[in-house]
């Protein structure tokens, strides 16, 4: 009977009966469809539960998993001074990208917290300033690489939904490398802007100024002189082979 009633109702918003709903994040609300407790059917209005918002364990298996990777082998060294975040080129652009905090979450196996940063955790540009300055030689730059791989493993769905555009850019990048053996930044820029639907900006004032400046100082012409690297065919085959293997590996893992 309870089931019938529920089906007649319009689609409910998660936790709609909670009065101070704005105080609770979606992840902490748990709703059971047909819940029976001690023989009493409590589905319907009473099926909503709020999970504790207090951390109740440190999961060191995650820490060990990171430590076993080459990139993350020095995770045990980090003492959270914040030198990496202070040196980071990305943090000033995305405040939520915080290498120090990511390393700490990995140390304590706090996946719940880490999940909130799926969209920014991979944004390391690999400038290695953090690794050069880290007082404990943790190598945070490579730690971010380990983090990206683990995020891919643990949160594939979130990754898929949040990183679509970037996958496209990756494709452009790959095609460019395979096609020419060189990275053409101008082309990468225009193609990715097109993919993101920001074509208009390409003829904006900033872009025009940049192009004029490059024509003036001759940099624009040097792009035309770019040829393919010597013996490119051989390297191209090797890269293609590698990518093929990597893709099959990924599929078999999944």
């Amino acid at each position: 009977m309870a089931l019938e009633k529920q089906e007649k109702r319009p689609v409910a918003e998660k936790g709609e009966h909670i009065i101070a709903r704005h105080l609770i994040e979606d992840d902490y609300i748990k709703e059971e469809k047909n819940l029976v407790i001690d023989g009493v059917d409590v589905s319907g209005r009473w099926n909503t539960f709020i999970r504790t918002r207090v951390d109740s364990e440190f999961d060191r298996s995650f820490f060990r998993e990171v430590k076993e990777t080459v990139a993350g082998s020095r995770i045990n060294r980090c003492w959270q001074c914040g030198m990496c975040t202070a040196s980071c080129t990305v943090t000033p652009l995305y405040r939520r990208f915080n290498p120090r905090a990511f390393i700490y979450m990995m140390q304590l196996g706090n996946l719940k917290e880490l999940k909130k940063y799926v969209d920014v955790a991979w944004r390391c540009v690999g400038c290695y300033k953090c690794s050069q300055r880290c007082p404990k030689q943790v190598n945070p730059a490579e730690m971010m690489e380990a983090l990206a791989l683990l995020i891919k493993k643990y949160f594939p769905e979130e990754m898929e939904s949040k990183l679509k555009v970037d996958e496209d850019v990756k494709k452009i990048y790959e095609d460019m490398i395979l096609g020419h053996g060189r990275l053409d930044l101008a082309k990468l820029h225009t193609s990715s802007m097109q993919k993101m639907g920001r074509t208009k900006e390409l003829i904006g004032k900033m872009e025009r100024d940049a192009i004029f400046k490059m024509i003036k100082d001759g940099r624009a012409f040097s792009i035309l002189k770019l040829g393919r690297p010597h013996n490119w065919g051989k390297s191209k085959r090797a890269i293609e082979n590698y990518l093929k293997n990597a893709n099959t590996l990924e599929r078999s893992e999944a």
Partner: protein
């Protein structure tokens, strides 16, 4: 006739002061309140000393042996100074021991009455003595010294252990605002020992700051880098009982701004040092000054840490503030030198 010097307290500082003076040919009277020499390291059976893990028995044992074999040192065990008077530039002291009372005149006096471990039971939030598995660093040291290394509640090896730093230190609530200096280093030392003894046991250290000063820092690095000891920033506010015979540490992870309530098999409180009742007793009997922290007040903290406010009475070791054993031993020597100079001048 040789000079007479009274040394009060037979811990590392007092023992070193006494042996050094005896080697100068001074007649030393060493008064110790306990049944044995060696002070707190002996009383609480410290096992290994940081930074190089040498057995405490070797260090203190050597000092005791020197003091006991010297013909110039007269040791009074289970004794107390029952009466103390200034006599010109000298001092008359009555030493009460099981052998009776003895009044002697001394050229100078060295006070090396040491410290007391902070009693964590005084800070109720840590539930010390309420749960068997909540112990403090001196208990753990004694457990290791006795070779009885397990969870106190059931004798099983622990699966996860938490250290809580700054218990009874840097806390206005318990009345101690100072840092006790050695508890951080002792804690990381014990964390290493735990990890070595139980490789499957995870060890966490809850800290506000980790103050392993000077070269003791090496131990801290070692604990993290070689033994995977995890440090978590935040002071624990409450210890309660948890499921499956565990104790729950409730606190805030200040780096992630999140509350936690984590069950542990064993919690070790890094309790600090206090001047103890002996410091105020000495201050009263000998007419010395106490500082605002309850330790004996030196004449000048930079220039003369070993001098008291009274001419002829010198201070050594942890009675003037929290100190490592090595520092206490050095101060014993410094106080001996100054007491000797004073004695020779006025003899």
């Amino acid at each position: 006739m040789a000079e007479n010097i009274l040394v009060i307290g037979g811990g590392p500082a007092g023992l070193n002061a006494a042996t050094m003076l005896s080697e100068l040919g001074v007649k030393v009277t060493l008064a110790e309140r306990d049944l044995f020499l060696g002070g707190n390291p002996k009383k609480f059976k410290y096992k290994f000393l940081f930074p190089d893990m040498q057995p405490a028995d070797n260090v203190v044992g050597e000092l005791i042996k020197k003091a006991e074999t010297s013909s110039n040192i007269k040791v009074y065990l289970s004794s107390e100074i029952s009466d103390f008077k200034e006599n010109g530039k000298k001092f008359d002291a009555q030493i009460k021991s099981p052998d009776g009372n003895e009044i002697k005149t001394f050229d100078s006096v060295i006070v090396a009455t040491g410290f007391e471990h902070f009693d964590p039971a005084r800070d109720a939030k840590y539930s010390y003595q309420l749960f068997d598995d909540v112990i403090d660093i001196k208990d753990l040291e004694r457990m290791m010294g006795e070779g009885n290394f397990a969870r106190p509640s059931n004798g099983q090896p622990p699966k996860n252990v938490a250290f809580i730093l700054c218990v009874g230190s840097r806390d206005r609530h318990v009345g101690n605002q100072y840092c006790s200096r050695v508890c951080c280093t002792v804690s990381v030392k014990q964390a290493i020992e735990l990890r070595e003894h139980f490789p499957d046991c995870e060890v966490y250290i809850f800290y506000m700051d980790i103050r392993t000063y000077g070269f003791f820092e090496d131990l801290y690095w070692q604990a993290m880098e070689e033994h995977d000891v995890q440090i978590v920033k935040g002071r624990v506010a409450e210890i309660t009982s948890g499921p499956d015979n565990t104790v729950i540490c409730k606190g805030e992870d200040t780096l992630l701004r999140g509350p936690f309530e984590i069950p542990f098999d064993m919690v070790v409180l890094a309790s600090g040092m206090e001047g103890g009742p002996q410091s105020s007793e000495m201050a009263k009997k000998l007419g010395l000054e106490l500082d605002e922290h309850g330790f004996l007040k030196p004449q000048n903290v930079t220039l003369a840490l070993f001098k008291s406010n009274k001419e002829g009475i010198f201070l050594a070791g942890a009675c003037t503030g929290p100190k490592a054993i090595s520092d206490s031993i050095i101060e014993g020597g410094a106080a001996a030198m100054n007491a000797y100079i004073y004695a020779v001048r006025n003899h």
